[in-house]
Symmetry: C2
Subunit: 158 residues, 2 copies
DNA sequence: ATCCTCGATGTTATAATATAACATTTATTA
DNA sequence: TAATAAATGTTATATTATAACATCGAGGAT
């Protein structure tokens, strides 16, 4: 399934990278060569990618990269909302709307492994109400739903 | 903070263990000695506990236990809804209402590390609506909110 | 009761994920 | 241009989790 949803994937990558570049310029963040290379690798597919898969991809380009290189770039990219970690998969995905909001929700198809963002303000509102009842101040909301996407549940019916 | 919320913690453990025992009997599940011991260790506090901390606790009792012992018990306990994994912490907590519903939501205080369940049906309903819109069939909903609990944000004000 | 089977446990080894600590380089700014 | 702060390089190791195969033991079939 990997890139089928994104007709013009190359464009979709470069648009996002440009956007990130712009945001970094505005905020005075250093979007260095390594950070950019790693963000590009993450965007090569719309699937979540694992840190060590990023590492082996980047080692093809520049031999002898080591884990801290990847984890540091991931830290930077996550801190600034350009990438999200899917905790249930120990994997990382690019954020398709950097800077719009801090909390992103994910639906993860356990058949094709496709991950889609499903950021929805009604979910956020409902959660915030419950947090208020609990007098809990939130920093971050992580929502990951595991199941089958439409395509895969259709296939499994046949 | 650890057990302060639960006035009679010993009772609270034994009640839950009894409940699990009963559920297993009804369902023909084998609540073996090891599984019980590990569930008891998990319930020693209301905090999430890490697999290797369980391992070292159980090694005090019975030397020479090894990781698979713990992970197998955790698998059993999670499959049957007696324990939940907090993915963002790689940690495990006992479920305070085994068998009532499959999806449990957590609020995690980053100061005192206390984790509370905040299973709320309005959240579930709202999420399900969004999943329907996306024609996505869910198996499991994981919601983890990180922030500060009431007690800790009070303290930090002072 | 005995054998059989299957699930549970024991055991060894290793895979997969992530970070600590310190050295060096590069960018920024005073 | 020197000072300084941030980023990267490097080595080592910590943490989390599973594979693979051997053995044990409970409960059912005969």
């Amino acid at each position: 399934m990997s890139n089928t949803r994104c007709d013009k994937h190359k464009k979709c990558i470069s648009t996002t990278i440009d956007q990130v570049e712009k945001i970094c310029a505005e905020k005075g963040l250093r979007f260095t060569k390594i950070r950019k290379a790693i963000l590009e690798i993450i965007w090569e597919s719309h699937q979540p990618i694992k840190a060590y898969d990023i590492l082996s991809r980047i080692s093809n380009i520049n031999y002898s990269e080591k884990p801290p290189t990847v984890y540091r770039a991931l830290d930077f990219l996550m801190e600034n909302g350009f990438v999200h970690k899917i905790n249930s998969l120990n994997s990382y995905v690019g954020c398709s709307h950097p800077n719009e909001h801090s909390d992103c929700y994910f639906i993860i198809c356990s058949i094709c492994n496709e991950v889609q963002e499903c950021c929805d303000s009604t979910i956020t509102k409902t959660i915030k109400k419950v947090l208020n009842k609990n007098t809990f101040k939130h920093n971050h909301i992580a929502l990951e739903v595991n199941g089958q996407c439409n395509d895969c549940s259709d296939v499994s019916k046949k």
